[in-house]
């Protein structure tokens, strides 16, 4: 979070621009953060707001505590370049063109992603109860 990686470094992030359409909706475990929260990524296509709310409602109805799950929308950090790159790579199959564009777009907006993560960590830290459940979905 202290420095800005170059686009090539961003491209080397595991799973970067490599998820297939059939994987949209499947939560993918990324790893634990420094506080032991389990971090996942999940693509929800066009229905992200409704789906995030529905998944939270569903988990609560199943007895999962409110503090045990946190959804953070990462898409507002994506600019036009990222979206075009993502479309070219994932939809049109033009990976060689799309992936670098996507990485450059992320690089341009990198401070916003850092800010998003900061905000999430502040939210998690300000919660009344420390999560002890099986996972945090980010």
């Amino acid at each position: 979070m202290g420095r800005r990686p170059d686009p090539e470094e961003i491209r080397r992030v595991p799973n970067f621009d490599k998820l297939k359409n059939r994987e949209i909706g499947t939560p993918i475990y990324v790893g634990p953060d420094e506080d032991g929260n389990r971090v996942y990524i999940i693509g929800l296509a066009t229905g992200k707001k409704i789906m995030a709310a529905a998944l939270r409602d569903f988990l609560l109805s199943c007895g999962v505590r409110e503090g045990d799950v946190y959804f953070a929308d990462a898409l507002p950090g994506a600019n036009v370049l990222t979206r075009i790159g993502g479309f070219l790579s994932r939809q049109a199959g033009l990976v060689r063109i799309g992936r670098p564009l996507c990485a450059i777009g992320i690089w341009q907006k990198y401070p916003q992603f850092v800010e998003l993560v900061r905000r999430v960590k502040v939210d998690l830290g300000s919660r009344p109860s420390v999560p002890t459940g099986p996972g945090e979905v980010h």
């Binding site: 994987e23 296509a45 409704i50 529905a54 099986p134």
Partner: protein, 200 residues
């Protein structure tokens, strides 16, 4: 058991499926004219007024909780997301059933009705929608009966008398949560009215 009926946006077919399951609407016949229109309109308005997310419809006679979800993502995304988060949090797949209502909708009622309403022809929209439901109502009622049968199978375990049903109708043999059934027209539900169960 939690049953989650989902369909594209707040489709009337979604409301009808939940309505039949909860006994608000008859399973063996299509309700007539104004009553049906008023009921679906009221239900639709009530749901739209509430926040996005999973809406709890009620509990049926068997003690199963019925939810509805007006999604704007594809059904496979919904399936993967629910099963994925359920696995993360240790929710057993047998505790919920996702049922996609969209394949059971009649296209003329769905798209024609929406387009006419968007254009301001509300009466024509409801006429077209009702016409669509005349064709799809029994299919949706049959779907609900299938869902009830499937839940019964899940609860009963491997009863021998259910095995022929599993062989005859692959829909029942699918993974719980894999709600892609066969939307083909089946025979109308029996005379048991709202509590009609599939012939086991």
């Amino acid at each position: 058991m939690r049953v989650i009926y989902h369909s594209y946006w707040w489709s009337p077919a979604l409301l009808v499926a939940a309505g039949i399951h909860l006994g608000y609407l008859p399973a063996n016949r299509k309700p007539h004219g104004a009553d049906f229109t008023r009921l679906v309109t009221e239900l639709s308005q009530r749901l739209k007024a509430e926040a996005a997310g999973l809406h709890f419809g009620g509990t049926d006679g068997e003690g199963d909780d019925i939810y509805i979800l007006g999604r704007n993502a594809g059904a496979p995304v919904v399936e993967r997301a629910f099963h994925g988060v359920a696995a993360i949090f240790g929710v057993h797949p047998g505790e919920f059933l996702l049922v996609d209502v969209e394949p059971y909708e009649e296209r003329w009622g769905k798209w024609g009705g929406s387009l006419l309403r968007a254009a301001g022809f509300v009466s024509a929209s409801w006429w077209l929608r009702n016409r669509g439901f005349s064709r799809s109502y029994r299919r949706i009622a049959r779907l609900v009966a299938d869902v009830r049968g499937r839940i019964a199978i899940q609860k009963e375990g491997s009863r021998e008398d259910l095995l022929p049903l599993l062989r005859e109708r692959p829909y029942f043999g699918g993974r719980l949560g894999d709600s892609r059934g066969n939307p083909a027209d089946g025979p109308p539900p029996g005379p048991g009215g709202d509590q009609a169960r599939p012939k086991l």
